[in-house]
């Protein structure tokens, strides 16, 4: 059984992975204590002729100990998780300089509006591509996420990003890629019969290469693809 997470490729992947491994260690210890304990008791205290069970109704001290230890552990875990959560998903966590994108999800494809060379949305140099998201490495990007029909979920496993796209809601999700390459984007929320094939590709470019690519794309598509509205 594999418990090692696949390699992360975003700035906060490390924080999420750290929490994951921390919980893995804590739960691993609890798991071993309980399972080995039960197995040991099952062997040690099996019924034998002439034996009689110890007559006891419990121990207050034991109850206090095994109430306090889990309570302290989970509260500490909660506080640590709360900080990381705020940094990733908090309403004020989106970096001001993040490059904006608009992603409209609909059965069963992703319509990705890129900001174009000026780095801003809702300007004439925007362009929209189906099922492809191109971003620069080492720069935060913010996706303005919407859905036209049903709920979808924007999931890039390598970036440890997942956010539902909900009709009638405008949700911002940000991330910063740390590696150049191609990464799969999947829909993670059951959205109908084509849900299983609602995939897309995220391409992470070097900064220079990205500027060049953006200029070329904007020139090739002088106007935004019609039919895709925010």
């Amino acid at each position: 059984m594999e418990w090692i997470l696949p390699k992360g490729a975003s700035t906060f992947a490390g924080d999420i992975d750290f929490l994951y491994y921390l919980i893995l260690v804590i739960t691993g210890i609890a798991f071993i204590v309980v399972e080995v304990g039960i197995l040991w008791f099952a062997i040690r205290y099996r019924a034998r002729p002439g034996r009689r069970a110890r007559y006891t109704h419990g121990s207050l001290r034991a109850e206090v100990i095994w109430t306090a230890i889990p309570a302290v552990t989970v509260v500490a875990l909660g506080i640590m998780s709360g900080g990381v959560w705020n940094d990733i998903k908090g309403r004020n966590s989106v970096p001001a300089e993040a490059l904006p994108y608009r992603v409209m999800a609909r059965q069963f494809e992703w319509h990705v509006t890129h900001p174009g060379p000026d780095g801003a949305l809702d300007t004439p140099d925007d362009f929209t591509i189906r099922n492809q998201l191109h971003i620069p490495v080492g720069r935060p990007v913010v996706v303005h996420l919407g859905a036209e029909d049903v709920i979808h979920s924007f999931f890039v496993p390598a970036f440890r990003v997942k956010q539902d796209a909900v009709p009638g809601m405008h949700i911002r999700v940000w991330f910063e890629a740390t590696e150049v390459g191609a990464f799969e984007l999947a829909c993670a929320e059951l959205c109908g019969l084509g849900h299983y094939r609602m995939g897309a590709m995220v391409t992470v470019h070097e900064a220079n290469e990205f500027s060049e690519w953006t200029v070329n794309q904007a020139a090739a598509r002088t106007t935004a693809t019609p039919g895709v509205t925010p």
Partner: protein, 577 residues
Amino acid sequence: MTTAAADAHELSFVRKYIFSTDHKIIGIQFLLMSLVFLFVGGLLAMLVRWQQGFPNEPIPGGGVLPETMAPGGILLPEFYNSLVTMHGTFMVFFAIMPLLVGVFGNYLIPLKIGAPDMAFPRLNMWSFWIAVPAGTLMLAGFFVEGGHAAAGWTSYAPLSAVSEYSGVSAGQKIWLLSIAILGLSSILGATNYITTVVNLRAPGMTWFRLPLSIWALFITAILVLLAIPILSGAAIMLFFDQTLGTHFFDATGGGQPLLWQHLFWYFGHPEVYILILPAMGMVSDIIANGSRKPVFGYHSMVYAIIAIAFLGWIVWGHHMFQSGMNPTLGTGFMISTLLIAVPSAIKVFNWMGTMWEGNLRFHVPMLHGIAFVTMFVIGGLSGIFMASTPVDIYIHDTYFIVAHIHYVLFGGSLFAIFGAVTFWYPKMFGRLMNPFWGKVHWALTFVFFNCTFFPMHTLGVYGHMRRIYDPTQYEFLKPLMGLNKFITISALLLFASQIIFVVNFVWGWFWGAKAGNNPWEDNGLEWTLPSPPAHGNFATVPIVHHGPYEFSAPGVTEDYLPQNHPPLQVGAGKEGR
């Protein structure tokens, strides 16, 4: 009360076994009904697993399925979505919930508290006979045009609300109607259980002499009474969205899709505890019996049940961390969710404490009880991963969640159900199930259960999404196909192992060894009665003198002490626990 027993002889077959008002017969009726649905749910899971392990290969013998489901034996994606939806629906609403609440709530409450029957026997009869048409309707959904509901057992709007989105019209409506009808059955049952426990306890059966199974069923009944109306109300609203053109959950008309999720999970999380608390209670009874020891920390166990039930109301948002709900709410829901680990840990440690220095008898119910504890621990611990909001970003909607829910509901609830059925079977039918085949069934189920569900954690760790028809569509999932095949083969063997249980169940009914009154040497009031007990249960009202778990008490020759046994000499044994 004594006349009720005499009346039993005059009842016609129909009044005695079909439209019966006897809680014991109704319990057995629920048992047979929910075992049928357990089988149906399992069968659907096999089809799901086939597609995951062997995508786009024809199912052996799948040619019998109609063209609209699986042309040439290959499942269609729309039918796959129905399978996933209906597997969850049947297992949650028509198998596990009635098995725990319908069967054991009915059968055990009056017997264990020393009552002649439920407070409202006729209401009880209706509770069963409302569940039957609900289940029949739910089955009928497979045969309507457009296929059965396909929006997941959680029925998220607007996929479930607008038929153009799901491609399913009648099926989605049938699903809601059936759920609303079943809800009525649950509400009637819960009202009955609460009233019965509060009012019909025998003299001396104080609250802290109640067996933990009854405590758990009582608290569960309160959860059912408060949670089910929310689901029914939400289902009716969604039904109006589908049929009358309202837009409660549809953003195109100003509705809010997240409202459905809030309503569903406000019901849905207490529902999770409805599906586990009775199992915990019955396992406590069984482990004390198998260990020949009083339950360790009885009072903590009661308070833990109450704490879990209370916390269960303020954690629903943990199903919605990635839904677009305000992220600040996420932190609050994370803390309340993590806190549930505390009463859960208390319960686990107390079960271990019960086994500690016991004199363990490994009868079949005890084996299932131990399996329950060891598997529930895994389900509980894996819950901590998804409770942590940042980790949940990654594992939400992956197979990690699928593994978690099956460790709780199969590893937990279903093992407890196997144990409880075996334990109370002799009381129900007067005969024992075969212990050898019971152990074989236990061992095979334990092994194949773990082979099926443990590797799903790994799938989740690699980001494998749940509810996808064909995992080979994604490059990053292709290396996992070997594991998917292994899981599928294990699941098929797990399903096949259940044949042993079915045969043992049917065989025991006719040819099992005669049980006698008290085959497990237990203390509960039900074991002082003949097997099966007559209509009206107790010829004379029992007087309760002891707590439910006075095993191996000093001053008693046997290692058990029935609850209605006259008081011991002063100083011998600890009373009133």
